[in-house]
């Protein structure tokens, strides 16, 4: 029956086409049928056709080098990490890593095309090849690595999920989740945050009501208006967005409860190891540079250094860059044009008073550690 119907409607479509050539016009009834059947036929293929993608090593790197700029997926409305201002200028911690990659690849920190992506669209954008690399405070998880077909890079920011509440509801930061019994909690959809929230409250046996927004700004706005008693997100987001967006940040407190581990890392599509290596080693180079005390201001003075570690890192000796398919001085370029890890951190997150904490170098008791450049 259904088959008959669709065949019939295909004939009907054809006859519509023929109508222009003088065939009798179809009746209104058939038109309705036609519309519906055509939609179902097209469904399986109705996704944007992705551009031809590199499959094994190196094609993406070559494609980016040939194109002459890097397409970087970032957050567009998150001050401190990825933010585009009213003049169209991009700034932020994640954004500066894009600049560092561009500097390493093209010796031009501005050879980047930024794509502001929503939490929901970010991984699809990477999968479909719309962006070369995703640097959008994304948590490295097993599912994303395995099921989404991504390769995550070195962790650029160790974060943890926290919860912020009004001081009229909780007395101070030491209050536990139980203080939020029956609370309305604003959260962004499509994040690991949303899942952790459900897990943690379920484990603690505390009932709550989620109010889910697609957009982090909308979640903050609704929280600020009083729709929710609390808002949950990564600690860094609560601190930066809280200061940037809330009317009176002093009326709110971020609880001490740590709800999850959130290692934020850049991601590329899996299957192109050369491209992933290029992305990874630029980040490692920036961490290593901080450890060696090399900054954008003094990097030139290090070029004459006798220290073989420094000389290899900056490409003065050895062929480390060439082995990755890059210029030998790729780390030098990234440091010179953008800065080392510590500089990028201070420039973007310092104004929000976010202490280095776990993100300090391993020599200072943090987790930032680069494999050796040799």
């Amino acid at each position: 029956m259904l088959k008959k119907l669709s065949v019939f409607s295909l004939f009907a479509i054809a006859s519509i086409l023929l109508a222009a050539c003088g065939a009798p016009a179809p009746t209104g009834d058939t038109e309705t049928v036609v519309e519906t059947v055509v939609v179902t036929v097209i469904v399986p293929g109705d996704t944007p056709t992705p551009p031809p993608l590199p499959a094994i090593g190196g094609e993406r790197l070559q494609a980016v080098l040939d194109r002459g700029n890097l397409i970087c997926g970032v957050h567009g409305t998150f001050q401190g990490f990825g933010f585009v201002d009213s003049a169209g200028a991009w700034s932020g911690f994640d954004v500066d890593f894009c600049r560092a990659w561009a500097a390493a690849l093209f010796n031009d920190a501005d050879a980047v095309e930024f794509r502001g992506l929503s939490a929901q669209a970010r991984f699809t954008a990477l999968q479909s090849g719309e962006v070369d690399v995703l640097s959008r405070n994304s948590t490295w998880t097993w599912t994303r690595d395995a099921e989404l077909g991504l390769t995550f890079g070195p962790v650029t920011f160790y974060d943890g999920q926290a919860i912020m509440a009004r001081l009229e509801i909780v007395s101070d930061a030491s209050a536990g989740l139980a203080a939020l019994e029956g609370a309305n909690i604003c959260v962004q959809s499509g994040t690991t945050t949303e899942l952790n929230l459900a897990d943690q409250f379920r484990a603690a046996g505390v009932s709550y009501e989620p109010v889910v927004f697609e957009d982090q700004s909308a979640a903050f706005q609704a929280y600020d208006e009083g729709r929710c008693d609390a808002i949950t997100s990564d600690r860094s987001q609560l601190a930066t967005q809280g200061q940037a967006v809330l009317q009176n940040f002093a009326d709110h407190v971020i609880l001490d409860v740590v709800m999850s581990k959130e290692p934020l890392a850049p991601a590329v599509l899996q299957g192109d190891d050369k491209w992933a290596d290029a992305i990874h080693w630029v980040v490692y180079g920036m961490i290593q540079a901080e450890e060696l005390g090399i900054t954008s201001a003094n990097v030139d003075s290090f070029l004459t250094s006798e220290d073989p570690v420094v000389r290899r890192l900056l490409g003065v000796e050895g062929e480390l860059g060439a082995k990755l398919g890059l210029s030998n001085d790729f780390i030098y370029r990234a440091i010179k044009l953008v800065g080392n890890y510590g500089e990028v951190y201070e420039k973007n997150l310092g104004p929000f008073g976010l202490a280095r904490g776990q993100n300090a170098l391993w020599t200072n008791g943090g987790l930032m550690y680069s494999p050796p450049f040799r």
């Binding site: 399986p44 293929g45 996704t47 029956g182």
Partner: protein
């Protein structure tokens, strides 16, 4: 058979064009399908619905069917679908009322009413719906007072930024028994009607109108009998009360639902108003004049002459507006109402199954729309003028 003319034979050309068209369609679909599977395979991704039975692990703020975070993705999508259906059905009912009122008001002879309706249609039709939704949510619903300073209306009904709370009823133990009595009472009316009709056919004389009193007394007697057996009331009133951080008890209209419903109803209502106005104005003026000259009042003219004819013109475009309302409900994602689109977005983000989820979404909206058009087409066929 004349061979020279087959390429000039219109029937042959028609069939040929159809075959070419079908071939092109099949090839395009096949190409797109192969392209997608090839690209997915290259990234080591597979397509399939196996993930649907895995636990969703996220919570949903409002649901009309039981749901918790440990339920499956499939269940979460069902919650979203039901939420979409609820807002669509309630929205269609309300927008019809608003649309008809505004459409008639636009033709009113009263200057203020006419201008007011014109302003409503003008403003609403010419601004994007998503901006209106944002306005109703952030600008109106969330600007209501906080829970502790709730506005109390008689009832008691509370208006707060966490929602509108109204008293509600709760079934007690005697509810099933009472339900039986009420069903029996309603059944008795049909039985009386049947018996009286039978009696009228049998007897040659008209039945005394006093028999009609049976319609009143028998159901009342059944209910009275029920009350004698089960004196406890079937329903308990629940009054919303402040408990902890929020109100508990009673029926709650969340700000997200209220803003979405309000926005959709007013937006679609403006379009329906124009359809109603067009439908009424399309009825020939002579019809109205003839009705007035026969002594029908204005309301009688509208009800008996104008509306039945205008309805035939209005139904097809109004159906389109109903479908628009159903589809526009997917804008709920902007204001945090967990409709199908919002939940499907979350599921697809958590599982990465973009294609599968988009197919589910398209099929769901498609079936919802087809079902709506089916009902409207049935209605349309019933009110069409039977032409010979």
């Amino acid at each position: 058979m004349n061979i020279k003319a087959f390429w000039r034979d219109i029937r042959f050309l028609q069939i040929l064009a159809q075959i070419v068209f079908i071939l092109a369609l099949v090839l395009t679909a096949g190409y797109l399908y192969a392209n997608v599977t090839e690209n997915l395979a290259r990234q080591g991704l597979t397509v399939g619905y196996g993930f649907m039975k895995n636990p969703a692990s996220f919570d949903i703020s409002e649901s009309y069917i039981p749901y918790e975070a440990s339920d499956s993705y499939r269940r979460a999508l069902e919650v979203g679908l039901v939420n979409t259906i609820v807002v669509t059905v309630v929205g269609i009912l309300l927008t019809t009322v608003i649309g008809i009122l505004a459409g008639v008001a636009r033709l009113s002879s009263n200057l203020i009413i006419r201008q007011f309706a014109a302003a409503y249609v003008g403003v609403i039709r010419n601004t994007p719906l998503v901006i209106q939704l944002m306005f109703w949510y952030f600008g109106v619903a969330l600007q209501l007072p906080a829970v502790r300073e709730a506005i109390e209306l008689p009832g008691p009904t509370y208006l707060t930024q966490r929602g509108i709370y109204i008293p509600w009823a709760e079934a007690t133990e005697t509810f099933p028994a009472w339900r039986t009595y009420i069903i029996l009472a309603i059944l008795s009316i049909f039985i009386i009607a049947f018996v009286l009709q039978l009696a009228r056919k049998r007897s040659s004389l008209p039945l005394s109108p006093w028999w009609n009193l049976l319609y009143f007394f028998i159901p009342v007697f059944i209910i009275w009998l029920g009350a004698a057996i089960q004196p406890a009331p079937p329903l308990n009133q629940i009054i919303p009360e402040l408990a902890g951080l929020n109100f508990k008890g009673g029926f709650r209209l969340t700000p997200e639902f209220a803003a979405l419903l309000f926005g959709l109803v007013l937006y679609t209502g403006a379009f329906i108003a124009e359809i109603v106005r067009a439908g009424i104005q399309a009825v020939a003026k002579g019809q109205v004049e003839a009705a007035r000259s026969l002594g029908l009042s204005t309301s009688q003219t509208l009800r008996l002459i104008v509306f039945p004819q205008a309805l035939r013109i209005m139904i097809p475009p109004v159906t389109s507006q109903y479908l628009n309302l159903a589809k526009n409900s997917s804008l709920a994602i902007a204001i945090g109402y967990p409709d199908l689109f919002s939940i499907a977005g979350t599921v697809f983000n958590q599982t990465g199954a973009a294609i599968e989820i988009i197919v589910v979404m398209m099929l769901s909206y498609l079936s919802l729309s087809l079902f709506t058009s089916l009902l409207m087409n049935i209605y349309n066929n019933r009110i069409q003028l039977v032409e010979r």
